[in-house]
């Protein structure tokens, strides 16, 4: 079948400006987009730059946008991409959130590697194992193995809503790498890692919107991994004070009343002694108060019927965790 592909290119010849270049190839619809790009480079245009290595979805090298969405080229069938294309032309471009190096190649150093390095994704055991090997429970290995199947394709980062507004955010890919070390029972640096991950632009900047999980082709569920990091950090009271206060106040309020006391949450998140922080709340509180939107805190926040059962569930959970 004839396959038309429009490739967004930017390189020295285009003076770094993005231009769309159209190609047409004859290829079976069951072949992949990577096959198509290789055909174009070999037969029509040797200057076309893209990455691609294993051809089977294992190396994560050929990530790009296809019809506006992030995709791994070697796992994208030409026929299917054509069906989703506007005007019968497959639109191909580089990843949207990464700096373009040339044509479809992005600057992986800034997009991936520096962030991966920042989370130090290796295990640091306390000491050499006494009997020559560290034995890890099967469940733990199964869980870590899923995370280790990450191919660093970058699709989770490409889908991230925070990276759109702040490219310095660590992002779900690096945080998933961090999970691999934090949840490995052989590692000796859990507390230190959780503190480091709590740095500005770190794990607390994640909105847990599930975009990362939706975009992960390996179903590693990066969003769930970040939830797990948050849980572990809160239990260890690692994290910026404001965030720890926020989580603890949320839990305390639900435990006491069965539901959330939002006004109390706002005050306790800032901290009673943080006069500056509390003053910052005032303008919004006044505006909301004038409009009748202000929730009632503490004594005026009534308990839900059955709140004692919610409290009992909390206590049981806390006992189980001890």
């Amino acid at each position: 079948m004839e396959v038309k592909i429009a490739i967004k290119r930017s390189n020295a010849q285009t003076n770094g400006k993005a231009i769309s270049q159209a190609y047409s190839i004859e290829m079976d619809g069951n072949r992949t987009l990577l096959d198509g790009l290789i055909r174009i480079r070999e037969e029509q245009d040797p200057t076309l730059a893209f990455r691609g290595s294993c051809g089977t979805g294992f190396c994560g090298d050929c990530t790009m946008t296809v019809n506006g969405k992030g995709a791994v080229a070697c796992r994208t069938k030409l026929g299917k991409a054509l069906k989703k294309a506007d005007d019968g032309i497959i639109e191909v471009g580089p990843l949207k959130l990464a700096k373009v190096a040339k044509d479809l190649m992005y600057d992986a150093e800034n997009f991936h590697w520096q962030k991966f390095k920042a989370v130090e994704p290796w295990v640091d055991p306390v000491a050499p194992p006494a009997k020559g090997e560290n034995v890890v429970a099967n469940d733990e290995v199964q869980d870590l193995r899923a995370v280790m199947s990450c191919t660093q394709c970058g699709l989770c980062d490409q889908g991230c809503t925070v990276l759109v507004v702040d490219k310095t955010f660590l992002g779900p890919a690096a945080l998933t790498k961090a999970y691999r070390a934090v949840f490995d029972s052989r590692d000796s640096r859990t507390a230190e890692r959780l503190q480091k991950l709590s740095m500005r632009r770190g794990m607390w900047d994640c909105t847990h919107c599930f975009e990362a999980s939706e975009h992960c082709p390996k179903r590693i569920e990066p969003t769930d991994r970040i939830f797990a990091l948050h849980d572990k950090a809160i239990k260890a009271e690692a994290g910026p004070p404001k965030v720890v206060h926020h989580y603890k106040s949320f839990a305390a309020s639900v435990k006491a009343h069965g539901w959330l006391d939002e006004a109390r949450l706002a005050v306790e998140t800032e901290g009673f002694t943080n006069v500056r922080g509390l003053m910052k709340l005032l303008p919004f509180a006044v505006k909301a108060g004038i409009k009748g939107k202000h929730p009632l805190p503490y004594m005026l926040h009534k308990k839900r019927p059955g709140a004692e059962h919610i409290k009992r569930i909390f206590e049981k959970w806390e006992d189980n965790g001890k």
Binding site: W204, T207, E211, V254, D261, E262, K291, P295, N320
Partner: protein, 294 residues
């Protein structure tokens, strides 16, 4: 149609305008709501699932005993509950929760409760044709940008499964159009509003709020509508801060879903508590010919 109504925390807290509006609109639609007063917070993605799953299982067990599906009015409540309910489909896990957390109260969750957002109830249970029949004050081509709230869209296999793809993918757009408006597709409509990181990174949160509201305006919308009160707290509540952060005027009114439906069904702005919004809805009221007292 009868539901075990789960109002959530925010509709009676930070967005007190929402709860009474829901009751009025549901009454007019003939949705019978039995409020679940004895139900805990879903956890909102803040509480660990280790404790929020048992709390949600308790809520599900109570609705199951009532023989009713749950109706939520918050994308976040809906998302957290749907995910918890999915995990509780696993017999071993559910039995553990029943044994460890619910049995002492004499409760048992069998795994049969359905949890439905009001948006889905309107589109799937009530029907858009019947909704159209109730419109007495059509939106007259009012361009409205829809903002779902990320938890109502993701994970897609749970929130928009294949059997509901037809109704849920465009539920908000379809409601806007049934009310006589024009649905404006802003790029942020299925994205996170920014509310969850207001505490940890206000700057990024305001950037997100600013981008979403400005994009809606740039695409021609004069108002926005959301089925999530947390998105409302951000898009309406923090809009002025976002405008200052972006250095641009925004000023786009944001409606809760039931308010927009109620307005089209003939309720007054006061009955829908529009006066409680931080961004004035007056320009929209005037455009729709609603009598506005000075």
């Amino acid at each position: 149609m009868k539901y075990a109504f789960y109002p959530g925390c925010v509709s009676k807290g930070g967005c007190p305008e929402l709860y009474p509006a829901v009751l009025k609109v549901a009454d007019k639609l003939g949705l019978e709501l039995v409020e679940m007063e004895d139900a805990g917070c879903t956890g909102a993605g803040i509480l660990s699932r280790e404790v929020s799953d048992p709390i949600n299982a308790r809520t599900f067990a109570k609705a199951e005993a009532m023989g009713l599906p749950i109706m939520t009015i918050c994308s976040t409540c809906q998302g957290v509950m749907t995910q918890a309910n999915h995990r509780l489909k696993d017999d071993e896990y559910r039995q553990m929760i029943n044994r460890e957390y619910l049995s002492e109260e004499g409760l048992e969750y069998k795994g049969t409760t359905d949890v439905r957002h009001m948006l889905w109830a309107i589109v799937e249970d009530y029907g858009l044709d019947k909704l159209r029949d109730l419109v007495v004050r059509p939106l007259n081509g009012l361009p409205v940008a829809q903002f779902y709230g990320c938890y109502l869209k993701r994970p897609p296999e749970l929130m928009v499964p294949k059997e509901f793809a037809k109704t849920r993918k465009t539920a908000l757009e379809d409601v806007i159009e049934a009310l006589g408006g024009v649905a404006v597709k802003s790029s942020g409509r299925g994205k996170c509003c920014g509310f969850p990181i207001l505490t940890s990174n206000e700057e990024n949160s305001l950037s997100m709020c600013g981008d979403h509201t400005l994009d809606a305006k740039a695409k021609g919308a004069v108002a926005m509508v959301t089925p999530c009160p947390l998105c409302h707290l951000e898009l309406d509540g923090k809009q002025a801060d976002a405008a200052a952060h972006k250095g641009q005027e925004i000023n786009i009114p944001v409606f809760h879903l039931p308010q927009l439906v109620g307005l089209a069904m003939g309720f007054s702005p006061k009955e829908m508590n529009l006066q409680r919004h931080l961004v004035s809805t007056k320009p929209i009221e005037q455009r729709l010919g609603v009598e506005v007292k000075a």
